[in-house]
Symmetry: C2
Subunit: 353 residues, 2 copies
């Protein structure tokens, strides 16, 4: 018989994190990680870090890092919120900003963590299906709601929407908080950060994990009005005062300051993406126009699940989702040119089987 | 007029983190930080860290770090939970384990974050006053409740209770989850980790921030039954899959492996604490018997608030709480012998004013 104390344990379906492998031979195109290392300036910041100072708590406001981000986005430090990866930032935002009895709304095909947070924080939600081309129809978002969250570019579809789209969304949702999740924006998307100056109810979130190659350090951020940021800070400070560790503050700062390296890395990923897209289309794949560091693709008459499993035997890991509507698509992270050459070779091998 | 969208913002009193100063001349005895640097092995782990690997997400389970902790405490890795500092660990535990309509219970004088988490997660709570000697009366904890959390040693009182006390607490609370918060245990307290093998409803939490001098890195942990840990993991994985960054995993691991350094550092802090306690008692202070890296003290006929403010002008920062029952006490973190000599000198200066 179950003991009485087990009655008060939270019943929640555990989210299972994606597959991780220690095998160095694997070509890992399944987690949207950047194939290039972080800025050498970030590396230097770690090497030069005074380890003795770790005996002290980090600066609770991570002011140094907020300052370079504020300068970068041309806002003030009290327009910036920082978290332990953008998952932490968005989780705090859900708790802080989505407290309505009305459902929050987002597209049916989107980041799989949104319903998980809704379940964890007891937030009602409703999804609007994307159309047959996987585009979000902004006209769907006119109904009264408890808040809006849309990733732009969207994942796993890779499609980016314009800032005109976002401005129309804001026009339709003047009574709601609107979150635009820009995890992938640096690979060719249109950022809505400038719109936060015009719309006090707009929060834009970002991450150092993709375009800045710092997934291992856990740095996410949000840009928004002082009003929104102050509520995020109040919730964060009620949870944990020191989320960003001292090393991440220094390395994150160095990454922002090395803008040349950042731009060059993004440019390389985009160039490779365009090449791989063209190659796959030549092979008969339907590849969506991507504004991200991954591509979303399918092929008529060809099982993507089977292809995914075949590539795995060749030590090329891509991502397959058994989710309705996209059960015959795969998501492929853009690696280096060398990695993508092997991917394309194995893909040809599969088609010629 | 307030806009409609502001209605759904969370109304919460922001917790204000303690004072931080960049002034290097300050003798900082106000945050219970360790005066000694982290293990040289942890420093080396950071210097030797392969920064290129930061482009990848950390291992979601932080297995390497869990393994050394499991070995250290003689348990299995599925008896270990890790978080972004012990505040994160306890916040997750509140969400995961305290889901009763009955109030959770804890002492009136204790860690100030407990009521903050109760407010954030809408958990009812009730406090039992500690006695006039600031001791916790275990007989108070017989009433039916929604869970129990007790710091042992307690803060800010510095008093440690025995494992016999904890075992009696567990005997009285077989239908509740009992959390023992051992943030300060390594400075002479009695750890209840062994009891987690006997009591499935016991969770013991710890931190690398005090005794391991790694406050800057944010590593907290919990030890408990597989049942309790699996619920913590489910909630954590519904919030953020990658809380512990790659550098913290390596540096934390190195710290655990350097047990000799760890023990030597704790021994030094304890020796200094005993010396300062004796000196202050000679000066007429009432100093509680501490099992922590801080002391809690008062002096009849002397305003501790005034003394706190005087010491601040001398660049010696200690901690004063304007909290009923302890409004004439101060909390003093144990620094190096050199720092404490200056502290004692300034204290004499104040008394001779």
């Amino acid at each position: 018989m179950e003991k009485l104390w087990t009655e008060n344990l939270r019943k929640i379906e555990p989210y299972v994190p994606g597959e991780q492998s220690e095998d160095k031979d694997i070509i890992k195109l399944n987690a949207n990680e950047n194939p290039y290392p972080p800025s050498p300036m970030a590396e230097q910041a770690i090497k030069e870090f005074n380890a003795d100072s770790l005996r002290l708590y980090p600066n609770a406001n991570a002011t140094e890092l907020k300052q370079v981000l504020a300068d970068y986005y041309n806002v003030k430090t009290n327009n910036i919120f920082l978290g332990n990866g953008s998952d932490d930032v968005i989780a705090v935002a859900f708790q802080a900003l989505f407290n309505s009895d009305l459902p929050i709304v987002y597209p049916d095909l989107t980041y799989s963590f949104y319903p998980v947070w809704c379940s964890l924080f007891n937030i009602p939600y409703k999804t609007y299906p994307v159309d047959d081309d996987f585009r979000i129809n902004v006209e769907d978002y006119k109904e009264k709601n408890g808040g809006v969250i849309i990733p732009n570019p969207n994942a796993p579809t890779s499609i980016g929407e314009s800032t005109d789209f976002v401005e129309k969304l804001l026009e339709y949702n003047q009574d709601s908080v609107v979150i635009i999740d820009e995890a992938y924006v640096d690979f060719g998307g249109e950022s809505s950060v400038e719109l936060t100056k015009k719309y006090e109810n707009l929060l834009v979130t970002g991450t150092f994990s993709k375009s800045r190659s710092l997934a291992g350090l856990r740095i996410g951020f949000a840009v928004g009005s002082e009003k929104l940021i102050s509520v995020l800070e109040a919730v964060k400070n009620s949870y944990n005062s020191y989320t960003i560790d001292s090393l991440s503050i220094k390395a994150g700062k160095a990454s922002i300051l090395d803008d040349e390296y950042f731009k060059e890395t993004c440019r390389k990923v985009i160039a490779t993406r365009e090449y791989v897209t063209a190659q796959m289309r030549e092979m008969g794949f339907k590849v969506l126009d991507s504004s991200t560091n991954f591509i979303f693709a399918t092929k008529d008459g060809c099982s993507m699940k089977d292809m995914f499993e075949y590539l795995k035997t060749k030590k090329v890991y891509i991502r397959y989702f058994s989710i309705p509507r996209i059960e015959n698509y795969v998501r492929i992270t853009i690696g280096t040119d060398e990695e993508m050459a092997i991917f394309l070779k194995e893909l040809k091998g599969y088609l010629q089987k």
